[in-house]
């Protein structure tokens, strides 16, 4: 029994202090994809490889529009791999809970 007590004392408290203190995800964690609008060329590579079809490119009144929804994104990182300009990167951000679906959209427009 003393051995168990010793083990317990040695282990200490393992519970995370998460909501009080920020918890930073590991470096290779695949979190929220972020788009750098200036490097994007609207080539459509990411649209072609996205397994859950959450990246879309459409033309609207002479504007190219890229729509990314975090809602169905499975964070596979294929868009990051195929993007030649490095315009889309997966970050370590994971606190994405939202009250509306509308807040989970990322839209980029450019005049042709």
């Amino acid at each position: 029994m003393l051995k168990i007590l010793e083990m317990t004392l040695k282990t200490g408290i393992q519970t995370t202090k998460y909501p009080q203190e920020p918890d930073i995800a590991p470096l290779d964690f695949r979190g929220k994809p972020e788009i750098f609008p200036d490097s994007c060329t609207f080539c459509g590579n990411c649209v072609a490889v996205c397994p859950s079809n959450v990246i879309r490119i459409k033309e609207d009144n002479g504007e190219m529009v890229l729509v990314l929804s975090y809602c169905g994104c499975i964070f596979c990182g294929r868009c990051d791999e195929v993007c030649s300009g490095g315009a889309i990167k997966l970050t370590q951000e994971y606190e994405m809970a939202s009250r509306t679906k509308d807040d989970l959209y990322c839209i980029i427009r450019r005049k042709v």
Binding site: T15, C71, I74, S98, C106, I107
Partner: protein
């Protein structure tokens, strides 16, 4: 009194109302509506000693009749649609619905097909969306705390003209 002040007062009233209705505790019933079980693994780890959501007064209960909130995972398959509706009707009001995982948010990798419903919000009104495939336990804690109005929403719709 400006509009901002009014909104602020309304927000405080809502907050006090929610704390009055739910107390400081939240009881969750987890519903698997055709999930791949990745989200369930994360829900299991919520009650282990490392993440330990019981310290916030959040409990996972065994019956919808004991619950304040339904934590739905999976894209709501045809077979689970009726079961999910029955679970929702068995939960006493006031109740919250949280969609956990990308599938529950909008179909995710399963998409919108013959057998998969394409998201919980087509069947039930959803209060909180928690995207992630699966979401980290910390992300789920964040979502639950947001449902209890302890934290503010961080993500906003971004629209950039490049």
């Amino acid at each position: 009194m400006t509009i901002e002040d009014e909104v602020h007062i309304m927000g405080q009233q809502l907050h006090s109302r929610i704390t009055r209705i739910f107390g400081r505790s939240l009881h969750i019933r987890e519903v698997d509506a055709g999930s791949c079980n990745g989200c369930e693994v994360e829900v299991n780890s919520l009650s282990n000693p490392i993440y330990d959501i019981e310290r916030f007064g959040v409990h996972i209960v065994a019956s919808p009749r004991h619950a304040d909130m339904l934590l739905v995972t999976g894209p709501v398959t045809r077979n689970m649609e009726l079961a999910l509706l029955k679970t929702y009707n068995a939960t006493p009001s006031p109740k919250l619905v949280a969609a956990m995982g990308s599938c529950a948010c909008s179909g995710g990798i399963f998409g919108d097909t013959y057998a998969s419903g394409g998201g919980v919000d087509r069947v039930l009104p959803v209060d909180i969306y928690i995207p992630g495939c699966p979401p980290r336990p910390q992300a789920v804690i964040f979502g639950l705390m947001m449902a209890m109005n302890t934290f503010e929403q961080k993500i906003r719709r971004t629209e950039v003209v490049a």
